[in-house]
């Protein structure tokens, strides 16, 4: 007498709801028990005791974006590899292992090209890429 199969997704929802409930409950307790004496000095952003200068929402560095960019491409490639990887054993037992390997390797080789390109062009360096490009131009 098995329950309906789809209920397998129920724990996921229950855990998410529990996380939110825990936050709300903890927050409620804290509101109930914690003192509440706000002052301007307390709610100033911490800047080592100095008066904060300007808003923090202006500092940026393009390298963070470049890292995110390389990440998303690799992320998508690994997502596409997952279903193929999970049937690789099955294909191998069916005697089609070489074919699967060929497809898999040709997919990965393009991935390797991508990382090799980024490495060569210095996108994987955190600090030196700007200096390296400067050095190249002065030569």
């Amino acid at each position: 007498m098995l329950p309906a199969q789809f209920d397998g997704l129920m724990p996921v929802v229950i855990f998410m709801a529990l996380a939110i409930l825990l936050f709300v409950g903890g927050h409620f307790l804290s509101v109930l028990l914690a003192p509440k004496k706000p002052s301007l000095l307390k709610s100033t952003p911490y800047e080592c005791g100095e008066q904060p200068v300007g808003s923090a929402w202006s500092m940026f560095n393009v390298r963070f974006y470049v890292v995110g960019l390389i990440f998303i491409i690799f992320d998508v490639e690994s997502v596409l590899m997952f279903p193929v990887a999970s049937i690789f054993k099955e294909l191998n037992q069916m005697g089609q292992g070489t074919y699967a390997l060929l497809i898999f390797l040709s997919f990965i080789s393009v991935l390797i090209e991508g990382i090799a390109y980024c490495w060569r062009k210095g996108d994987l360096d955190w600090v030196k890429s700007f200096q390296a490009s400067l050095k190249k131009e002065t030569k």
Binding site: V62, Y65, I72, I73, V79
Partner: protein, 101 residues
């Protein structure tokens, strides 16, 4: 209640909101946000049809590739936005009037 029509209505709302976001916003990032909504609407339609009409997995494959293309599009689009911001110091869409500087 769970039928093809309800999924199509949700997808319709996603599409229309995406279109309105694309038209109404003047920030390029917000326009890309609208494009993501539209692509999601399309992918949702594919999966809904593949369950309720064709009953095979071609729709799943199609929405998988839609997600892949959306990721690539977001990467390139946002790179263009950031480069544009470095040159023009703004990302107002009306400032983008020249093909080359």
């Amino acid at each position: 209640m769970m039928s093809l029509a309800s999924y199509l209505i949700i997808s319709l709302v996603l599409f229309v909101v995406g279109l309105v976001v694309m038209i109404a916003r003047k920030n390029i990032v917000a326009i890309l946000l609208g494009i993501e909504l539209i692509l999601n609407a399309a992918a949702l339609n594919f999966v809904a049809y593949s369950r309720y009409v064709t009953n095979n997995l071609d729709g799943h494959i199609f929405s998988l590739f839609i997600i892949v293309v959306a990721a690539a599009e977001a990467a390139v689009g946002l790179a263009i936005v950031i480069r544009f911001f470095q040159i023009k110091e703004t990302i107002h869409i009306d400032e983008a009037t020249q093909l080359r500087n």
